[in-house]
Symmetry: C2
Subunit: 444 residues, 2 copies
């Protein structure tokens, strides 16, 4: 690194050079955050540090759930990696200990785990299990969703596909949104209106000879921008799935491991699925993920299909995941997510009194969404403002993102070690940024 990098011009040219290399080596359009991308070099707890030594409050990264570079997690990783790292076709006690500890946190009959490396692999495997069990191919998921990047899971996605048709084996249904309720319907009436789409999709699958395998859905609708979905909706979905002998798969890649203020999203919403998929925060950044289901489902699948995942559930991954589970328990992070989440949500609701653009504040635990609108009555999405907000927040050293069908919902999803002090810093900065940007005028 030359001395020029310490000057502002040097830093800018270094950044340009990195971007040039990145485009050449990883390809054009490889996803990147922010108008001025962030060059990170270090992480600790809820903080990230850039190449210039600036400290950022991380209010975005849910993967590092128990905090960046948690020493217990790193120690477990290093210790096991220097002892033994091998696939699971030999016996290893720690793998079983972790499998036991993990499954013991689930309600019966969710007692058996199939390890994979990524949430995408877990969702792909869940589809295979559901299709095997039902002998049918049809999967229902929601609009504005994303469940991963394999060919089969990508068929479910609508979020990043810009109107591309979903596969023949997939039907996407709209979901009820308490903030923008169609026809102004409320509660059970709103649910019923949307549950008719489920009925219709099941009927169509049956008419088409594809058959109905199940519903794959995130219990907190994370990628749909954590909308306020009326309580009866998921219950209605579960009833329909059961009535038509399908399987209810909850993608808990985002809602799991304490995020909602409950350990599992299904506890938060009070509806039990047949299959749960886990991912992102399971190893705090180490690639481990899983499918949890009944032993009946797993045994039936495994009796016909030789499923093996070379890296899945190896001793290193399980040691890391065990450390994550231990930290969540010992540092009482589930109740922290609940308490600080509640505190932060209240703070955001207070800000909502001051800032007209904050149309809606919502979300479970430490996964909050703030929908920005240019007009509270018309609920006109303030898409451009949302982009300005996240870039200006970043300039003030607070990292958040945006999401939603209109890309106008601020996405607030920090590591769950987030404290009330951290929440105050976020609230103060957001207040400042919204004041500045709205004063500059031109909300759109």
């Amino acid at each position: 690194m030359s001395n020029t990098s310490t000057t502002s011009a040097g830093r800018a040219s270094q950044q340009t050079e990195l971007l040039r290399r990145r485009e050449k080596l990883l390809g054009k359009n490889t996803p990147l955050f922010y108008d001025q991308p962030l060059h990170l070099v270090r992480g600790q707890g809820v903080h990230l540090y850039d190449v210039n030594g600036h400290e950022y409050l991380d209010v975005y990264n849910n993967v590092a759930n128990v905090g960046h570079c948690h020493p217990r997690v790193v120690a477990a990783l290093s210790g096991q990696a220097s002892t033994l790292n091998i696939h699971t076709r030999y016996l290893h006690e720690a793998i079983l200990d972790y499998a036991e500890n993990l499954t013991s946190t689930f309600a019966d009959p969710l007692s058996t785990v199939m390890f994979t490396c990524t949430g995408s692999e877990a969702n792909d495997l869940a589809l295979r299990v559901a299709r095997h069990a039902t002998g049918a191919m049809g999967i229902i998921c929601t609009r504005e969703t994303y469940h991963g990047n394999t060919s089969a899971v990508d068929e479910l996605a609508t979020l990043f596909r810009a109107g591309e048709a979903v596969g023949a084996h997939v039907k996407s249904v709209p979901f009820p949104d308490g903030y923008r309720p169609e026809g102004g319907l409320q509660d059970q009436e709103l649910c019923d209106a949307y549950l008719r789409s489920i009925d219709q999709a099941i009927a169509e699958f049956q008419q088409e000879g594809i058959g109905f395998a199940g519903v794959l859905i995130c219990p907190i609708f994370a990628n749909e921008a954590v909308p306020n979905v009326p309580a009866g909706y998921l219950n209605g979905v579960a009833e329909r799935v059961q009535a038509h002998n399908g399987l209810l798969i909850f993608d808990e890649v985002q809602s799991g491991f304490g995020r909602t203020g409950q350990l599992w999203g299904y506890e938060y919403v009070g509806v039990q699925p047949d299959i749960v998929t886990l991912g992102k925060p399971m190893g705090n950044g180490h690639p481990i993920a899983a499918v949890v289901a009944s032993s009946e489902l797993v045994n039936a699948f495994r009796s016909d299909v030789m499923y093996f995942n070379t890296f899945g559930g190896n001793p290193v991954s399980c040691a890391v995941a065990q450390a994550v589970l231990d930290v969540i328990e010992d540092e009482q992070l589930v109740s922290n997510a609940r308490d600080v989440g509640h505190y932060l949500r209240s703070g955001l609701q207070d800000l909502q009194q001051v800032h007209e653009v904050m149309g809606d504040v919502r979300g479970p635990g430490l996964f909050l969404g703030v929908e920005l609108v240019s007009d509270r009555q018309a609920k006109q999405p303030a898409t451009q403002l949302a982009a300005q907000v996240i870039n200006t927040m970043k300039a003030k050293r607070v990292l958040i993102s945006k999401i939603g069908p209109f890309d106008n919902v601020l996405k607030i999803r920090p590591p769950i070690v987030f404290s009330k002090n951290n929440a105050d810093q976020l609230l103060d900065t957001l207040d400042e940024v919204l004041t500045e940007l709205v004063k500059q005028g031109g909300i759109s």
Copy 2:
């Protein structure tokens, strides 16, 4: 752990308990090696150690390519995991350094890399890239193959599917086998006979309106039991792929990173593919994998598809993979694989003079196959003997496996730090085991 575990009966009951827990927690039929499964606790270099302190020579595990728990790899993992572990939507220099070092080992135009976590994800992504580029769905692969476990990649598999039909978008073709040449054909005549299957599959895809996207194949036919495929065959495949505007994808999950005595399998076979997929040994057990292709292919894909892999190519994975690449270079492991592979193959050929059951000795570098037959003329597969051999070898503390359409090919595929002394131990043990088992009679 109770004191009973130090007695033989105690060890047996401990093993029974582990198997019971494993079946309950991971499901019945979760794959497991050996009649009496091995309970491992430690690994170092080419050795593995069981719970009773016994040392095993590892002549099977290709994932720990540079040796189990290599200190430089562990140090890189620990160092980066305690500094920063985050996804790639921020800038990070070490990711680009690794991408540059990795792609610089490939011939033009293979200059761009898309990171994933597993070989399955890499092959799944390669299918997406090929199907996107060609606008066609049809993929040709070989019989007796396996390329991974996602829904789309599993469609290609025949190896673990017991006659199950492949998907509509996949056609499996037979491959030429120098040991069992159909009709006694040799060399180019044998190639031509089998290349007609490729022509036919392409024509069928076109007639069916599915179109031809490409061929996905392991250049050394690893899962097909490393048959002696005549030199002209892969050239003929490449010509046909090009003539029909498809893409040639080499699955180098097993043949890559020095295994063949060349860094890449495509160099070993002398045929250049359009896309290469990497996996298993890339991180010596850490979950990192990749697709390498031309910038044109990657840019065209990325311009239409938002592909993102949360853990893929993160700073920790890249630090580990960089250490693996450095060790391969600094310890001259490619030439070691070539030299020790040659030495081992010669030793096996010497044993073949003594043991009638060793019908064929073959394979590149440190991936050797020994086909066991009960009759050299008739080439009757000695399937049961192969199972006895690997279990008896294990009892004598040498780990190998078996593979092939008849499950009668000994699979010899050690970490490539394997030495000539290690080879001698393998050869002596195999000699002893074959002598014992054949003396006991009943080759079948």
